[in-house]
């Protein structure tokens, strides 16, 4: 009898949710509009993607994993996707996840409101229907990177609850099926989340997480030092140095990104061919620079020399044979001489004030190789305007930052995207070819077999450094954190002390 009782107690202890350690504070620069649905590309995702889970998750460094769906399959024409739903999942209000909730969350009327979901807007979702416990989504035209860019970003919300409380009511008290449930929101100040005890996936190990909105990076670091914050999220760069200076742990987080040189003269389809049409000149600008030195000086070791345009070396399809160009000033001078510039080169160079240190060091290295760049610094908004609206004239070179995740980033070299970066038939043809491949396995093969060599050969932009978008500062209450979700941080994998 006693043995049976003990066994019962032991089993009950095993079945009960573990006692969660503590509450942590996460200092973040902003949380977007501070409304949680519709989700968009702003930072409100850090709350909504923890309260709600997607069908498929985008995990770090860059891989798709099942979440509310146990997997997915696609028709040969890329127009139909099936998502078998995970059984036994409940929302935070106790209601079960059903295909109706998925259909509701992806209803065209809802998708239309989401900024940044262009490829599945405008009636591109023809229909979404349930076949047993599987949801089938039918599209009008194929959408490359559907999982990376849309499915993994969109949380599934409980239809009955949203219909009962309305969007406004939902934004006051959001309910999802993610690892954390909503507790409290004080606008402009903080959002408190608590671990959801019945989460279907890995159970969070932190009892509560409070996101505090702290716009100034220096203040966030100060809060980490005082213990007012346990985690901070910062843009990579100076913050990495600050974290190192005070012996605090910095954990790179986010998608692969690049700082790259783009060439204004190549953006205009009616242009007169200029100096930067010659790949030797573009490569000379990279060869002339010791990028390792710059990465250490500006990014405090959190960046490394980039190898290929729009593709980070951390992408799974990357091939190590495409190594970054080395620092070789002699070869840079020779390439310039071969291209018809034995006396060196002079050009106007435009960078954002936020990239000032990087730009100044580039100019300095170029000068040693006989390349004279007249640097103009613009505020980031003005630079992006000049870039996207092509208001700069002539042969300028611009230093910009952008994602480097392969196909999605390849829009930067496609004249048909709104960024309209490159007016080149060769890159347009390449992009069209890639866009036509919908099957993920075939696309991965294409990225490896075609995109990488093409980028190496065409070198349409000159990649300078690569890094991850941000850095997480971890305080003493955090033991470890080594698994991430690229949209929600993956707080369920955060291990406190």
């Amino acid at each position: 009898m006693r043995r049976t009782l003990m066994t019962g107690i032991t089993l009950a202890a095993l079945a009960a949710p573990p006692a969660l350690a503590q509450s942590l504070t996460f200092a973040i620069n902003n949380l977007g509009a501070e409304t949680w649905w519709p989700q968009d590309i702003s930072q409100n995702k850090y709350i909504s993607s923890n309260i709600g889970d997607p069908l498929i998750r985008l995990a770090a460094p860059y891989s798709l994993e099942p979440a509310l769906a146990t997997g997915w399959s696609m028709s040969d024409d890329g127009l139909s996707y099936s998502f078998p739903l995970r059984a036994g999942v409940t929302f935070h209000d106790g209601s079960p996840l059903t295909p109706d909730d998925v259909m509701f969350s992806f209803a065209p009327a809802h998708v239309e409101k989401v900024v940044g979901f262009s490829a599945i807007k405008g009636g591109n979702i023809l229909g979404i229907e349930a076949q047993g416990n599987t949801v089938v989504m039918r599209l009008k035209t194929p959408v490359p990177a559907l999982m990376d860019n849309y499915i993994s970003r969109a949380s599934i919300w409980p239809k009955a609850y949203v219909e009962r409380v309305g969007i406004e009511g939902f934004n006051k008290q959001p309910v999802g099926a993610g690892p954390f449930r909503f507790v409290e929101h004080v606008k402009g100040q903080h959002v408190k989340l608590a671990a959801w005890e019945h989460y279907y996936g890995d159970q969070p190990q932190v009892k509560e997480i409070t996101f505090r909105i702290i716009p100034e990076a220096a203040t966030r670091i100060a809060m980490l030092r005082t213990g007012e914050a346990d985690i901070t999220y910062n843009e990579v760069g100076a913050s990495t140095g600050e974290l190192k200076k005070y012996a605090m742990r910095g954990q790179p987080y986010g998608q692969p990104a690049q700082a790259a040189l783009i060439f204004n003269s190549l953006l205009n389809p009616d242009r007169t061919p200029g100096r930067f049409d010659d790949i030797r000149v573009r490569q000379a600008l990279i060869l002339a620079v010791d990028r390792k030195v710059i990465a250490d000086a500006v990014y405090f070791g959190a960046a490394s020399p980039a190898a290929l345009p729009v593709v980070g070396t951390r992408m799974p399809f990357y091939d190590a044979k495409f190594a970054p160009l080395p620092y070789d000033a002699t070869r840079a001078k020779k390439l310039l001489a071969d291209a018809g510039y034995p006396q060196g080169l002079q050009f106007d160079f435009v960078a954002a004030t936020s990239n000032k240190d990087l730009a100044v060091l580039l100019v300095s290295f170029w000068q040693r190789a006989g390349i004279k760049a007249n640097l103009t610094l613009l505020d980031p908004v003005s630079l992006s305007r000049a870039w996207w609206q092509r208001t700069l004239q002539g042969d300028q070179v611009m230093l910009v930052g952008g994602l480097a995740n392969g196909m999605a980033s390849a829009v930067y070299i496609n004249s048909k995207s709104q960024v309209a970066m490159y007016a080149s038939p060769a890159t347009d043809a390449l992009f069209a070819q890639g866009m036509a491949i919908i099957d993920p396995a075939k696309q991965t093969a294409w990225l490896h077999d075609t995109l990488l060599p093409a980028m190496n050969e065409l070198y349409p932009i000159a990649p300078v450094l690569e890094y991850q978008e941000g850095v997480l500062g971890l305080g003493p209450k955090v033991k470890s954190w080594d698994r991430f979700d690229l949209h929600s941080f993956g707080l369920q994998w955060l291990v406190p002390k």
């Binding site: 606008k187 716009p215 203040t219 100060a222 992006s384």
Partner: protein, 305 residues
């Protein structure tokens, strides 16, 4: 007096009209917001559709006419970012700024005016020298730097006060000192200067010769006559407290209109930028008008000029 007030009111309205034109033109010059909020996968057709939906595809004069007509009815449009009324968003943040600005102003008045008066009374003495040095530092140090130094000293090193956020009175101390720092120094110098002018006048000398107590001479006879300059300065200060909140609120994560405006500028959220700048301009005009009224009340000569 009525004519004087009407003239001032008219000037205020002209100022607001000019501000509306300037803010409208400047916000458009910085580019359209879609370059920030659209994702790179969207096409030019998507961009055109969003522009049309937001009314940004119309001519600037047409956009301005609509904007002005709506603004007169208190409608500054829907925030592109918050997706609700820009006016409501502004009003939601205003109490935090008024709390911070009001505290900074009160602290400044409590410190700067007595110190300014004492500094003038003890001109050239050690108190005056220290006060002038502090005033000089206050006026030359950037608000941003002051804020970070205060955080490092009182939060990181001593651990006495919280670093950022709004909540208890402890949260208010560092941002209020930071925000009031410049105004404090300015008010102190103006008070000192105004008092020095008055202390040298014949009627103050006469009051002293009559044997009135020094405290009465200073506070009743001298200070009252120096008050016109101080009131004007307080008016200017109240404006600078709202505009200065832009930096202070960012450093201390204070959720007020200053931070809202900065965020809206970077997000190119036109309706919010327009609402914030125009409503702040309205506040400036109202404060200036109030100062003019008080000024005219204190000094009747003003009304007749």
């Amino acid at each position: 007096m009525t004519r004087y007030l009407l003239a001032r009111l008219l000037q205020g309205l002209m100022t607001l009209l000019a501000v509306s034109v300037v803010v409208f033109v400047l916000s458009r010059l910085s580019g359209d917001p879609l370059t920030l909020i659209m994702d790179p996968m969207s096409t030019k057709a998507d961009l055109a559709r969003e522009l049309a939906r937001l009314g940004l595809d119309r001519s600037y004069p047409a956009q301005y006419a609509i904007f002005l007509g709506n603004a007169l009815h208190g409608d500054f449009g829907q925030s592109i970012f918050f997706k609700r009324s820009a006016f409501e968003v502004f009003l939601e943040k205003l109490p935090a700024t008024l709390e911070l600005g009001g505290t900074a102003m009160a602290v400044s008045m409590l410190i700067a005016i007595p110190v300014g008066v004492l500094s003038a009374v003890h001109k050239g003495g050690w108190f005056d020298r220290i006060a002038r040095l502090v005033a000089l530092t206050g006026q030359s140090a950037p608000v941003f730097w002051i804020g970070l130094v205060l955080i490092l000293l009182f939060s990181v090193t001593l651990g006495w006060l919280p670093t950022a956020g709004r909540g208890s009175w402890r949260n208010l101390v560092l941002p209020a000192i930071t925000l009031g720092w410049y105004g404090n120094a300015f008010l102190m110098r103006i008070t000192r200067s105004a008092m020095l002018d008055v202390l040298g006048t014949d009627y103050v000398k006469l009051a002293r010769l009559e044997g009135l107590p020094e405290r009465r001479v200073i506070w009743k006879h001298a200070f009252k006559n120096a008050a016109t300059s101080i009131v004007t300065t307080l008016g200017l200060m109240s404006i600078s407290l709202v505009t200065g909140a832009v930096v202070t609120e960012t450093v201390f994560a204070w959720p007020g209109v200053g931070r809202l405006t900065v965020d809206a500028i970077f997000q190119r959220d036109f309706p919010v930028v327009q609402a914030a700048v125009i409503l702040i301009a309205v506040m400036v005009v109202v404060v200036n008008l109030a100062v003019d009224v008080v000024y005219a009340w204190i000094d009747p000569r003003v009304r007749f000029q």
